[in-house]
Subunit: 230 residues, 4 copies
């Protein structure tokens, strides 16, 4: 019943090592089937080498296992909060990819500095506030999701226009219309994070021109987009 969904989630997870976004098991991708009300997600702490479609875990929106013989990712509760808050997203990915994690550890937003960024992200990529002692001691993974959602709401950022976040002291989450699209955004996030590190080191005050950001984002997104095959 869930085989096509699980296969897409397996394929998307296997792209993480392919694109160099993960060491060992440090990442997880999920996709939601909103009609069936289920999420398929990577099992916790399992290596990518040899992972098979039946290792993918299907959970409902309360995190209960519907199908699968393994525990789901320990970050499942974060994914669930994002799916609940953002009805337009269909896939979520979490990694500790090096350059994005560096910005997360530094606790600094990833600044929009060029068209590579603007092609995918409409403005800076926010770094969340730190979680409080109580948020960490309580349902930590769920609270991670809630703090992400709070940050976007507080700053009035559209999560579809900025489909990534970095969690302070931790690492990035990305999302998209499905699992594959979420991973695509995670790859872009890592590349622009690396570029931004060195750009700021060369020229500490630089920012992209707002009109150039608009142009590149709208060249690829929305009704007047003309990039690609349409």
């Amino acid at each position: 019943m869930y085989n096509a969904l699980k296969q897409r989630v397996l394929d998307a997870n296997l792209k993480l090592p392919k694109y160099g976004l993960v060491t060992f098991t440090w990442g997880n991708v999920s996709e939601i089937d909103r009609q069936l009300g289920v999420i398929a997600i990577k099992p916790s702490g399992v290596e990518y080498d040899g992972m098979e479609v039946d290792d993918i875990v299907v959970v409902d929106l309360d995190g209960h296992i519907i199908e699968g013989h393994l525990n789901p990712s320990s970050d499942t509760a974060t994914h669930i909060e994002l799916y609940k808050a953002y009805p337009s997203i269909g896939g979520v990915v979490h990694t500790h990819s090096r350059s994005a994690t560096i910005w997360a550890q530094a606790g600094i937003d990833i600044p929009a500095l060029g068209t590579t960024h603007a092609d995918y992200f409409y403005g800076d990529i926010p770094c969340t506030r730190k979680l409080s002692y109580d948020e960490i001691s309580g349902p930590y993974e769920q609270n991670t999701g809630l703090v992400i959602i709070e940050e976007f709401k507080h700053r009035n950022i559209d999560p579809m226009a900025v489909p990534s976040v970095i969690v302070a002291g931790h690492a990035p989450f990305s999302w998209g219309k499905d699992a594959n699209d979420a991973v695509h955004n995670a790859v872009v996030l890592e590349e622009i994070s690396a570029m931004a590190l060195a750009t700021r080191s060369l020229n500490s005050g630089i920012k992209i021109q707002p009109e150039l950001s608009d142009k590149h984002y709208l060249r690829k997104h929305g009704d007047n987009a003309y990039y690609g095959q349409r």
Copy 2:
């Protein structure tokens, strides 16, 4: 009729992932046949994996499709302006290769700091001025080409002696006598961009000796060149 041209353009495009210059579809190479008045170029937003010779698009110098079933690269108008302005060039390439893009985002010329640079580029590689609001709102890709040409003219730089540019806030363009030669220059540009970043970090005021730049450039170019098999 255009098969040999299209094959060369396909081969040159496939060198972009081979040399690590592109993520996903972020790059495009073209070559001109000046006798036939046509340009063959990568299709827009198409992955390199599985790209075939018939996916390459042939356009005339007004950008109209002459042959091909896909849309040409969204950057086609930039390529066309460069071909019109520089009669000696036969190939153009655009990438977002990491280190060259870092310099573009920083808005700083890539300085000539050693013989690796001087072997291919006779002097600093210019960063264009920013495009104006009107240039961005208007025919943006064409204006990108015009701003490149203005920069070389304004600074009195010979585009055959400095076959690359970085566009402020955006990324590099390179060119050469054909598509393959343009990609060769793009690979060199990326390497010297990476070297220049760390060199300036070690010694912020350093420049190459002018006589050493002359020597290395003229060792490989012009009537008295003696590098390679002649």
Copy 3:
């Protein structure tokens, strides 16, 4: 008699080039069989390509060769001291992996800056004091082990909670419950070392929140761990 032990040590050594932790022969992994009182270790100065199980050397806890036709690693005496001092460890690895070695050369502890670090290491990774002239002139490799042990004791660090160290002016050592686990920790050490370099460059004063460090470490270690398949 020692074949299974030697095979595990060979397999763990071959992971060093696989994970990019070594150039040429610059690394060595050992595992102890505490019941038999022997250690199996890489031979000294031998390339990983073509290394076979019979090249692995078995020594006793005085460093005398019990089995094998080659000299053991010149760092064997360091391994022996660590096994003697830390009864819980079963494997030791030494590399000159780039980023961890950079911190060792700089003589600075690798600071805990995020959850990637906290998932494996409970606090900063200590850099030892410099060895004295006499310690270097005397039994140097043994003294390297003794200085590591002194550093952990002096700072009251549990070597099982921080399973790595960097030796001032030299390079890292990691350990674990067996050879494979030690190499796993060495891979993590290299990744967090690289992240810490750039994080400190972006934000020189940053530290991880202590409660976040607790949470991530205890999520994976101890009685209440819930990461992975348990």
Copy 4:
């Protein structure tokens, strides 16, 4: 007659792309047969892919071609000067490997900062003075060799104890007892150059302890060496 020599030189040249030391044709390795008074060297400007043993050029110590159908490397005259001045060396290699070239462009000696350096190089790796206008205008490649030799003599450095140099504004040369050993040293040079860049960025005043440098160098070199299989 020269086949074994040419084969060794071909093999050593092919290690340059294997170890990531070259882009395109930017490197060359030679070996001398001192009894026959000939040097075998890479041809100029020829790609490594598809290079065959008969492409290797044999020249005498005046640079005249003894055997081969191609022009020898344009840097042949530098190799010849090094062979003439240093009777103990049997192989020479020139690359533009990234990190060593960065130090050359910065015009700064590569400082000895740890045991990785000390295992191979007994002290800092010197950066030559700049060549004068006349030295560049005259027999440039020969003068490059002469300036290297002058630098070692002036600083009283034993070229066998420090088997590499960086030429100001240019790139590194390494040497060894044969072509293979020279390439081995070039690989080490690149690695320690990369480590030194980041080490100095973390701790700008750091140096290796002299007694640690002595210990590691002498552990691998000279009558009392005990590293490896002896």
